[in-house]
């Protein structure tokens, strides 16, 4: 019972933090809008300009940040549990690099970007999926199937390959396009409109549901391969399904938010420390932590510089890296 109360307390605290951060986030930016004015907007009065800024730009962005943070965190959690490796993350499976390469090729060869605004996330997702399939293909061996370590190392190698191919296109881009692609690669939430949320939501709901419905299976991974197998679980199949779901979730997130790392790396570790190994609780907590981290980073990035926006991926990395180093020292490999 104590555990349950602990989870509820944490979730409530984090939700309140997210709401406070969201309100701060709504207020900051080129155009200042006070909380009182937001209240006026909600009740129906207020200027047209204010309503455009708040409802068409800032609100969708905040919602995207919350959803993407949640998705990246549980995707990272699934990868860490299935591979039994606290240092694993979806960004190491070549997802970020593959999506980045696809975006770069798209920008380099297609001139009229505005007309193809919705093609961009599709391309990114395609790139993420192709690169993941390639990683799985190279990690597969006839006798042993796909082992966790081989999968991660292959992912690292192919990420390196993709980033060096990206170089070829970097030099071809015009300075404006280059700026856009760099912003994308470092991770800036750019898909800021309601239509992106509508595209994102079905994927988010389907794959988070799949992952949460498999939380019992995830628990067995913690027991070790032998125990899981003796319980009658087809380990390889479940692992592939779960990693596949995590990859699609992360791929969709990255395609609308850009290459954000570290969230999937650190939040599952933090959640494990707080709540323990029970998968459904832990994933709920790491997801909420992910949302909180992403929206905090976004708000911080907006507050720190009023002229240029600091990409949210940079802030996440600055906040996340120290904790990662801490995990690295503490973990017993």
């Amino acid at each position: 019972m104590i555990k349950k109360a602990k989870l509820t307390t944490w979730i409530i605290t984090l939700t309140i933090t997210i709401i406070i951060l969201a309100i701060i986030n709504l207020n900051t930016g080129q155009m200042k809008v006070t909380p009182a004015e937001i209240w006026q907007l909600i009740t129906g009065s207020g200027t047209y300009a204010q309503s455009v800024v708040i409802f068409d730009f800032r609100m969708p962005r905040i919602i995207i940040a919350i959803l993407v943070g949640f998705a990246l965190a549980i995707a990272g959690d699934v990868i860490q549990t299935t591979t039994q490796n606290p240092m694993a993350d979806t960004s190491f499976l070549g997802i970020n690099a593959g999506a980045g390469l696809a975006v770069m090729i798209f920008i380099a060869f297609i001139k009229n970007q505005d007309a193809n605004l919705f093609m961009l996330p599709v391309m990114a997702l395609l790139g993420a999926l192709i690169s993941t399939v390639t990683v799985f293909f190279f990690a597969y061996k006839k006798d042993t199937g796909i082992t966790a370590n081989r999968l991660l190392l292959t992912g690292v190698a192919l990420s390196g390959c993709f980033s060096s191919v990206m170089v070829l296109f970097t030099l071809k881009l015009s300075p404006e396009n280059y700026q856009f692609v760099m912003n994308w690669l470092t991770g800036s939430i750019w898909g800021t409109s309601w239509s992106f949320i509508l595209i994102f939501l079905p994927w988010f709901i389907i794959f988070t549901t799949i992952i949460f419905s498999k939380s019992k299976v995830l628990d067995t991974f913690n027991l070790g391969d032998e125990v899981a197998q003796s319980l009658g679980i087809s380990l390889h199949r479940e692992r592939i399904i779960l990693i596949g779901a995590a990859v699609i979730l992360a791929g969709v997130s990255v395609s609308i938010s850009g290459g954000i790392g570290f969230i999937g790396l650190i939040t599952p570790n933090l959640a494990k420390r707080i709540i323990g190994f029970k998968s459904n609780k832990r994933m709920l907590l790491s997801g909420t932590l992910g949302s909180c981290l992403l929206i905090a980073s976004d708000t911080l990035g907006k507050c720190l510089s009023t002229t240029t926006e600091i990409p949210v991926g940079v802030i996440v990395a600055i906040i996340g890296a120290p904790y990662f180093f801490y995990i690295l020292i503490k973990s017993n490999s």
């Binding site: 912003n183 690669l185 600091i310 890296a321 690295l328």
Partner: protein, 332 residues
């Protein structure tokens, strides 16, 4: 004696290949030269002849630079694999290159008027910072880090430094200048840089060669080394200083090139066995051969445009890395 004979033969073959590659690299490029022009440029230089001028002023420093950097990267890879007892160690994979890149970005932003020599100091400092971070973190743990964990940690450290330098570049509107440096390749190496930085690289390589008898010891457990009367921390520190100098200067000269340090020591060990007294000389020559070869391909594949030479290296390096990951190595 048998292994020594084999080593001598292998080394001489590699040196012959090195000489051939050196001559080919000087001869071929955006414009071809006859053997006579090459010979004249070296032994009978006339500054009025444009072809000879190109060879003397542009191609020779570039070729020497490529060879030196190849040796330096391969050597630092071998040293790191030895110190960390980890077959996956490489200055690119462990994030040392990205540390150097971060400091270079900062020097571009805050002190844009520095000369190349001064920016190199920043780069070496960045490499030192990153190596202290990587090795400090891994030595804080009592247990040995597994190769996979070390590679993933290196990835995360790279991601951190890269995020920082890209963020800084975006804020200060550096744009593509930095990208050109990142992948700039060897084309920018000139005599001036070689004269200032070459001695450091050669010094680092010599120290590495002198260290080789001690490097063999590092494969033993710490206790047995101490019982032999050697101070393990001194050996480790000298090795790390070598790594920092060699990889820092290479990054400053040609940008972040990964995989050379990963591949070459393995090939060298495959050819001559595990004795570092034989592995190290082979590593140096093989490293030079690889970068010369890659540079030659990068120049001639699509003339007069240059293909970034890091891509050619990755084309060899990535399959090799995957091969290492697929090999059923107990320690991975």
């Amino acid at each position: 004696m048998n292994s020594r004979v084999r080593f001598t033969i292998q080394l001489s073959i590699e040196i012959i290949i090195l000489c051939i590659l050196l001559l080919l690299s000087i001869r071929y490029g955006a414009n071809k030269n006859s053997n006579d022009t090459v010979m004249n440029a070296i032994f009978n230089y006339q500054s009025s002849n444009l072809d000879q001028q190109i060879i003397r002023q542009i191609r020779i420093p570039r070729v020497i630079g490529a060879a030196l950097i190849g040796s330096a990267l391969a050597c630092s890879g071998a040293l790191m694999q030895c110190v960390t007892k980890n077959p996956m160690a490489d200055s690119g994979l462990l994030g040392i290159n990205s540390g150097a890149a971060l400091m270079l970005t900062m020097s571009f932003i805050f002190f844009p008027k520095l000369s190349t020599q001064q920016t190199t100091i920043f780069s070496v400092f960045g490499a030192a910072l990153a190596s202290i971070l990587v090795f400090g973190l891994s030595s804080m743990k009592k247990a040995q880090l597994s190769p996979t964990i070390l590679v993933l940690a290196g990835m995360a450290i790279s991601a951190f430094f890269t995020a920082l330098s890209e963020g800084l570049a975006l804020i200060s509107q550096l744009k593509q200048d930095l990208a050109f440096w990142h992948f700039g390749g060897i084309s920018a190496v000139n005599w001036n840089q070689l004269i200032h930085l070459g001695p450091w690289v050669i010094g680092g390589l010599l120290v590495a060669l002198l260290l080789t008898p001690n490097l063999n010891l590092l494969n033993l457990s710490d206790d047995s080394i101490q019982s032999l009367g050697k101070n393990i921390n001194i050996i480790r520190s000298i090795t790390l200083i070598c790594v920092v100098i060699l990889s820092g200067i290479s990054v400053a000269l040609v940008g972040a090139v990964a995989f050379v340090g990963l591949i070459i020591p393995h090939i060298a060990k495959f050819l001559v066995g595990a004795d570092y007294r034989q592995v190290m000389p082979m590593t140096l020559i093989l490293g030079a051969n690889l970068t010369l070869c890659a540079d030659l391909i990068a120049r001639t594949i699509n003339p007069p445009n240059e293909t970034p030479f890091g891509i050619i290296i990755s084309l060899v390096g990535v399959p090799f890395f995957i091969y290492l990951a697929r090999k059923d190595n107990q320690r991975i």
